[in-house]
């Protein structure tokens, strides 16, 4: 613990200094306190909104959409990526289409989805799934392709059939790369969720921030932004933790073999 503070103390000090100067600058009206209320006010608003359940409720709604779209993308794109990585004809079939759609910024399809699906949950889940699709698809494909041929040959020698090889060798061996795709996709899901809530939604954390700005409840708006920052940080840390857990297992199992 002591070492932690010795190495991190400067960084923590700097962050606190920034927060403190925000407070001072705003209190002395060097910048408009209407647009930049003192930090203490924002934090009090944050605390109240957490305690009365407003922010947690909005967050739960947003999480439902984020993970709905994220898991939908996983469910479709991981099998497709494995198929494209293994079978040349399937790769040839879908490759030009993906190359054509990929450069499109995902939020650009929001109006199309609003036409067909309105501003309900389905619209957001589809847009989020669309945005998550490409990192997952491409990383799965790469992962399947980079599986050590020795592993597959060994399994063949031991008389495994095709399905067993895919399920027991290729899928676990490419799991590390698949996870890289998920790690790229999840922050994208958060961003696209906020955008789609700002463009068309009745609730959710993105909507909340925008409504607070429009109604000039500025400390409440900052409270929403803080929550998004915390969620972004939390998801990032969670993925990092899961990744080390996963890589440790992966290395032990597969680098010993090859």
């Amino acid at each position: 613990m002591r070492e932690f503070f010795l190495t991190k103390s400067k960084g923590i000090f700097f962050l606190l200094l920034l927060v403190f100067s925000w407070e001072l600058v705003s209190r002395n009206k060097l910048i408009s306190p209407l647009y930049f209320p003192p930090m203490s006010k924002n934090l009090v608003a944050f605390w109240h909104l957490i305690m009365d359940g407003t922010l947690p409720l909005e967050l739960i709604r947003s999480f439902g959409r984020i993970f709905g779209g994220f898991f939908l993308a996983i469910g479709v794109m991981v099998p497709l990526g494995i198929a494209m990585g293994l079978f040349k004809p399937i790769y040839n079939l879908f490759e030009p289409l993906t190359e054509l759609i990929r450069p499109l910024p995902p939020p650009a399809i929001i109006p199309v989805m609003m036409l067909f699906l309105g501003i309900g949950e389905a619209m957001k889940i589809i847009v989020i799934a669309f945005a998550c699709s490409f990192p997952i698809l491409i990383n799965t494909m790469d992962g399947v392709r980079s599986v050590e041929p020795t592993l597959v040959d060994t399994a063949k020698t031991f008389g495994r059939n095709r399905y067993e090889i895919i399920l027991q060798v290729i899928f676990p061996a490419s799991l590390h790369q698949i996870f890289t795709g998920l790690r790229v996709a999840l922050p994208i899901a958060l961003i696209v969720d906020i955008v789609s809530e700002m463009v068309g939604a009745l609730n959710g954390i993105g909507r909340f921030i925008l409504v607070m700005q429009r109604s000039f409840n500025i400390p409440e708006m900052y409270a929403g932004v803080f929550l998004v920052a915390i969620v972004g940080y939390g998801l990032n840390s969670l993925l990092r933790y899961l990744n080390t857990a996963l890589i440790g297992w992966h290395k032990a199992k597969f680098e010993a073999v090859t």
Partner: protein, 259 residues
């Protein structure tokens, strides 16, 4: 017996062709609601009309200009900060936690703050683009300067290189492939963010154009706008890779990173 092997390389082209034909036929026969999903030829017509009248080109130019200004600012900040924190230890200690707190922040959550600050002027779009694009460049530059073989630095020192020489002739060139890979990620990000910020609060640009045509129920025009955004994204990425091949060929890290 020899198995017949078919050449499957054209399959993808056939799929695209089939989808386009379906896109044309299904709305025409009322299987898809033509109001929401106009036939392919109608969208192409709207696109052509928009290009000819100059309206799409006008919005495209505005979007690209905003994206570029934000992007260039991000390069300036990202490369400078990345090089400094990568080479100066106390600076990276100082900034590390602040950066770790700000970096995972989704840039779009800052849209309302930027609107308060800048209204709907170009600076609103540019500030969000810069925020979103700085992180990949910054992190990659930092990693790049960290990855340098210390022998190179020692060798340069032995030959009497000053600090500035080191930076200019050893550290930055050696970190360049990392920097370039950050630049490539950020280029895509800049297109996404310019679209988003224009969709949310702007009165010009392609993002505005698709929301405006959506609200005015000019659906073929809306699709034409979406296609244009896709073309811009594709074109800029292609330009970047072509330029990269041309200017980065000397660095062995280049090909390794991009194949």
């Amino acid at each position: 017996m020899k198995r017949l092997v078919y050449d499957t390389r054209l399959l993808g082209g056939f799929l695209l062709l089939a989808l386009i034909i379906l896109w044309e036929i299904l709305p025409r026969y009322g299987i898809l609601y033509a109001r929401y999903f106009p036939p392919f030829s109608t969208v192409v017509g709207a696109f052509w009309e928009g290009v000819r009248s100059g309206e799409i080109l006008k919005h495209t130019a505005i979007s690209i200009s905003r994206a570029f200004r934000g992007y260039l600012l991000a390069i300036l900040i990202g490369v400078t900060l990345g090089t400094l924190t990568g080479t100066i230890r106390w600076l990276s200690d100082l900034l590390e936690i602040t950066v770790e707190c700000l970096r995972p922040m989704p840039s779009v959550a800052l849209v309302p703050i930027a609107i308060l600050l800048f209204g709907t002027s170009d600076n609103y779009n540019i500030s969000i683009i810069t925020f979103g694009c700085t992180w990949p460049i910054f992190v990659n530059t930092y990693e790049g300067t960290k990855s340098i073989d210390t022998q190179w630095i020692d060798t340069a020192r032995v030959y009497g290189a000053t600090r500035f020489d080191l930076l200019r002739k050893v550290i930055v060139p050696a970190a360049l492939p990392y920097i370039v890979s950050g630049l490539r990620i950020s280029l895509g990000t800049s297109i996404i963010i310019v679209t988003v910020t224009e969709m949310l609060a702007s009165f010009k640009g392609l993002g505005y154009f698709i929301m405006e045509t959506y609200n005015a129920y000019q659906i073929p025009q809306m699709y034409a706008g979406i296609v244009t955004i896709g073309v811009v994204g594709y074109g800029l990425n292609w330009l970047f890779l072509t330029a990269g091949d041309r200017f980065m060929a000397w660095h062995k890290g280049w090909t390794a990173k991009f194949v």
